[in-house]
Symmetry: C2
Subunit: 330 residues, 2 copies
Amino acid sequence: MGERVTMADVARVAGVSAATVSYVISGKRPVAPATRVAVEAAIDELGFAVNTAARTLRTGRSSLVALIVPNIANPFFAQLAAALQEELRGLGMHVVVCNTWARRDEERALLAEAVQQRFAGVVVTPFRLPAGELEAVAAAGVPVVVSADVPFGRVDHVAPEARTATRRALEHVTGRQRRRIAMIAGPRDATGGDPRLELLRSLALQYGAAVPRELVVRGEHTREAGASGFAELMTRPYRPDAVFCGNDVIAVGALDKARELGVDVPGEVALIGHDDASFASLVRPQLTTIRYPADEVGRKAARLLLERFNGREVHKTVRVQAHFVVRASA
Amino acid sequence: MGERVTMADVARVAGVSAATVSYVISGKRPVAPATRVAVEAAIDELGFAVNTAARTLRTGRSSLVALIVPNIANPFFAQLAAALQEELRGLGMHVVVCNTWARRDEERALLAEAVQQRFAGVVVTPFRLPAGELEAVAAAGVPVVVSADVPFGRVDHVAPEARTATRRALEHVTGRQRRRIAMIAGPRDATGGDPRLELLRSLALQYGAAVPRELVVRGEHTREAGASGFAELMTRPYRPDAVFCGNDVIAVGALDKARELGVDVPGEVALIGHDDASFASLVRPQLTTIRYPADEVGRKAARLLLERFNGREVHKTVRVQAHFVVRASA
DNA sequence: GTGAAAGCGCTAACAC
DNA sequence: GTGTTAGCGCTTTCAC
């Protein structure tokens, strides 16, 4: 079982040279039908599979795609990973998962490694990385797809189209006479600021609502931060009647705290998340949220990577549609 | 930025041979302190990193560990992945995620690939794979760690110790005068049968309860299967007053259906899951469940792999403790 | 304690 | 349409 089968073996059995075997597999130059058949038969007979290490060494291009995200245990990223892997699998490429824990040094180190090992590509959701550094990775020849609300330099980008969904959310909330809107946002030092907050703010005025500075609290994307953020908001003299959250994990934390404090959701305070992580429909009350389709992001990221492999040079942005999902929390 | 730095470059700068650079890095033979310092300085100066493709080609051993699971989007496996990656990261190893969708052919194909590409190791939760096939992988020289309730041949094994937790669950349930115990179990054709069901059954009698054949329904590990399984149970003339579920995903589906049917949980029917997936404390009522510590499984699997790298030959089983977690559903 | 050199398996010029 | 060959960057004998 430990016997390595090489192209040389296949070549011998098929009565051709190793080069021809290589060309049959890659299709990079024409091969006579009869030769092709013989080679394919030999491949099957011997159970040959290309040694990717040798190929990588020779071509300077590995078959690995790094998925660099804050935390793969966040269901949003887990689902993205599944979709990406699914899409890449047919091409013989593998997805390597890398958690950054939202730390800049980890983001940087992982990216550097992707360059050094000549990864086939990188799909990244940067969090604290300076925007320019992704361009450097792309310039070094590693295709980069960023999955984020805002662009990170001139690299391929899967971007949500969230304007309409956010409008719907505001319509929904203001239609129920809620005007004092708060947000439990991400940390202040996240690269690219907080586009979800900015979008909400810029749109709120049109609906006769506002997100005043004193109703914005910040923290990590954790349940704990959601809980303490919500608690803080409830102490404000100008108390919010609707609370948006940077993502669903935060929203669940807020829900925890609301229950603890005896604050009725959505009676007293409407609560709205972002992402539609798998658990959003599991919590009670079920989470009203702005859905970002993780699996579509994964598929589109794979698509962008493929185009790069096929020679595209100019960077490109593709959009995925966000949707306002009304459940019970608002 | 695209400039490759090789050992030869480092050797030139340090004024030694490439072999010495290699030995400094690997520590496989003694190097004079002065030489070591010079080499390390050169490595830092040039920002050298070993080319893993070349190393893999030469040594016949890659730095990749495959995580082969039914679905990485299941929070249990996502958490396992995070822990595994965390643990392996310091050793310069990477985790490749592979979804099998619980299909035997995928399990087989992924395993075969791990052998062909000489992966450093494999962590697998088999589902429909014949037990013997894992031994074949191990025999081919790829360290295998199986994460499953029961052994899959003579390979390393991270096994839950669930007896005590299951006893506690039975005590809890029977202490509340519930004796008609049902289970929504996994599919019949899963390899290794259904150890969770068997354990429950073998213990139930000691608590004056029983899990009669007509109160066992089966399906995939999905929310839908949980819902339809629960619906089916509710039509039984001998209606259960406690329902155990093969995992928490199933339990959530059962909860969905209970709500739909107006069945009070835990009033009419107690509901108990397995795993303690992250969402278990999110659903309402919060899920009472038998917790399997995913992150500990990930860490221990990494540990077992390391021991193999360091030369252990005999297979080994390590245990992780399951715990009965009482929440609101039972 | 260190170096020289072979070779892992593949791809891509360069022949013919 | 096919073969020959060099060499990717590393590890590891073998030699000193």
